[in-house]
Amino acid sequence: MSKPKPWHAMETEEVLKELNVNREGLTVEEASKRLVKYGYNELKEKKRRTALQLFLGEFKDVFILLLVAATILSVIIGYYDLMRGQATSFLDAYTDAITIGLIVVLVAIAGFVQEYRAEKALEALKRLAAPKARVLRDGKEMIIPAKDVVPGDILLVEAGDTIPADARLIEAIELKADEAVLTGESTPVKKGVAPVNEEAPVTDRKNMLFMSTHAVYGRGKAVVVSTGMNTEFGRIAELMQMAEEEETPLQKKLDRFAKQIAYIVLALCAIIFVLEVFAEGFVVKAFIDSFMSSIALAISVVPEGLPAIVTISLALGAREFARRNALIRKLSSAESLGATTVICSDKTGTLTRGEMTVRRIYNGGKLIEVTGVGYEPKGEFYLSAQPINPQEDKDLSLLLTVGALCSNAALKNENGVWRVLGDPTEGALVAAAAKAGLEKDKLEKIYPRIWEGVFTSERKRMSTVHLAANGERLAFVKGAPEIILERCTHILENGEEKKLSKAKREEILEVNEKLAGDALRVLGMAYRKLPSTIKELDEDVVENDLVFLGLEGMIDPPREEAVEAYKKCEEAGIKVVMITGDHKLTAVAVAKEIGIMKEDSLVLTGAELDKMNDEEFERIAEDVAVYARMSPEHKLRIVKALKKKGHIVAMTGDGINDAPAVKSADVGIAMGISGTDVTREASDMVLTDDNFATIVKAVEEGRVIYDNIRKYARFLIACNFDEVLVIGTFALLAGLAGAGGEILFPLPLLPAMLLWINLVTDGAPAVSLALDPPDEDVMKRPPRKPDEGILHGMGAFIITSFVLQSTGTLLLFILNYYVFPTHPWGWPNGPINEEARLLTLNEARTTAFIQATMFELFVVWNCRSEKRSVWRMGRKAFSNKWFVIAEIISIVPTLALPYIPITASMFHLVPLSLADLVQVIAVASWGLFFVLPEYLMGRKIWRWK
């Protein structure tokens, strides 16, 4: 690769010339040509595992390795039998090996499919969460996917943006960038446009912006010089994974749980192995047989699939989230979402539409009403119910002009819908001016901007300086009325600048209170003709000695869907807290309309919060419904206090200063539309529509996912342990009987059968449970406790299922082997007829096998709801078509196995008579009849950890 050009050492014009672009940006056509030439602005991903690698990866699993060992042993036994003449044919000798081998392949395929799906879902997630960039093309501002950025593109950068590629600044207004990802230096670097020394290290290239760093203050324009792997970040950094594939707390818990069970089961299997050897005598074959049984048992019983299913459920859930306009960035947050007890939501744009409309204007002592909806520049001005022409009123025109020019918003008509590019409040000001015929782009030509004092929530004001045609410099200032008033010395009335008296100040503040009391957001406007003595423009100099122009009051009504969503939260036992930078009265008015504000709820302002120490605040934190006049820093305190009270807190955020609060919340939610990239990166979830209702939907989905994981866990644990009892009982009896014990007490289930039951039949219905529809009461019950185990409240269900399944299997085996042998083989008194015994044994095993399988496939119907058995689910029982299909594809082959000669011989099964089949199904149906969640779920028998 050739040495990169020293862009940082070149003059801006030189850079632009070199890249063959002007300040208006590339043309769309040129940009697409360059995209072909330079490729996408992406970092090369680390090599994805191929399907084959994924498949082979399955064989790293210790359980699969054990199965492979069992297969190899079977081959050895088969060979041994064939050599000794004990096996009559090749098939006879290797049946076990083939069966177990096939099962290994089936299990590996199932595991592979699961992992492959999870990987695909994660990949889709990454695509959805792709960052965007703001560029100039054809002279127009455009938002494009960051990967489409090409060298030569003019980037528009604002506080909060992530820089999409390496770029050379051509304009910088108070721009500071956080380059910690690149340099490790956490202090933001002030940026400028002046060239620096060619040898300057990356940290000193003050006129460059680098990929993946963030603008934290100010704004600027820069021309992209390199993209993708040619950037500094591409050169030195590892791939930044957008969606992290970390293990979730639940997965970790389940992993531990599965391991604990594994130890217990392995110990039990070791005992069974010893007992079996005792019964069969100390010969090699006895060792191998017993080893096979023990391995099969261990593999069948250990719920090794449990952690894997969590990933699938979460990954599938994440797709569902995306469909509902919520992008999950960390899978684990889907889990926390379901347990959320408090949602701290921003008001503007989330609980409300965020489409501000100026409704009232206070100017020159007059209160003027403005009509119109949203950002559409259509509306009338009324004074005392009489329409007026705003252009005839010079004071009003100036006020509207200041509103439009002292802002960075622009209006855009997209297919007939007016949208704002930039801040909604500013959008409302621009729209209000446009209603008076004062269009921003025309105004900008008359009064070009030469300087800007950026708005921050700490300063609560913004100022711009413009050059008038007569060469005069005009400072336009807007901000919180009380802040603006503090800096005003005069007021404009009837075209005259008058001294601002104390009484006038009070009158203005009174009007401000009144407007705010009507839930209007009020901004004060002021201007100043800058004297020529001021040379250096700076906020402290410009924003003084101002002339007050008036107030603009705008409204942002609550979203209808937010009101609905709030009702859902109330039913679901979730507290909603509104946090806003707005005036207390505005906040309360909106909160009351939504329902958040109750009679006994508290309202806290930022100033009041500042006066409290942490202990005082924690005491009342749970009673506060509305936080008004808050700075982003307060949010962190709110999150901490609520967390300390044991709450699971979801916190929304958009601004760059919200990032710490969003990060420290249990579920950090960033706004996809209004949010900054920094907040998005700190978040667990991104809302693509910025809508509060979406958060509530996500909470619901989180609960559904958790419920479905619980269904699977319930099914798996309830049905996995009966084999230990069945096999254990017979191994114990055989061991106690000593030599020959294996004739009197043979194992009721063979290794291949165990594997079939727990690995083949379980799989499909279990996975389909992840797609099960929610319980009706999913949003009508209080949030689960965060420390609650996954098996909480399932004890009675699991025990009942275990007892009935074990009893059923044992009973059928005993009845068919001892009580009604089809071929009497000499039990209990006579000489043993080995041929008759084997025939009877195979039949008894077949009944035990079919019962154990069918019981599971029946009981799973009752695992689908916390409260309803299949008998009360009605039509809903069939609403999950995947579940129904899974049941069919599990039941049909299981019932067919004994009737197909080849599979019958593989599994040592015999065809059952209709009468036998009826009794087996009768016993298996206990799972449908007696294991009912209505009676068995939610019982506190003991605490599961």
Partner: protein
């Protein structure tokens, strides 16, 4: 402590009947009160018991549907 709902009694009674009938069948078989080997297939003690559990199950299912309304 386990909180009992009124309808829980139904399940407990059903289970009590289930196991009591199991025990009765076992005792009858073990003591040879009815010699099962002499009976026809359908009359066989244990098969009858298995069928009986299905009847009991259906009754429980029906009662559950009727009684629990939530």
């Amino acid at each position: 402590m386990i909180k009992m709902r009124k309808y829980d009694i139904i399940w407990l009674v059903t289970m009590a009947i289930f196991w009591a009938s199991f025990l009765a069948t076992f005792i009858i078989d073990y003591l040879g009160i009815i010699e099962t080997k002499n009976l026809g297939y359908v009359e066989t003690l244990w098969i009858s018991w298995l069928m009986w559990t299905v009847g009991l199950g259906f009754t429980l299912a029906a009662l559950t549907r009727i009684i629990i309304k939530e």
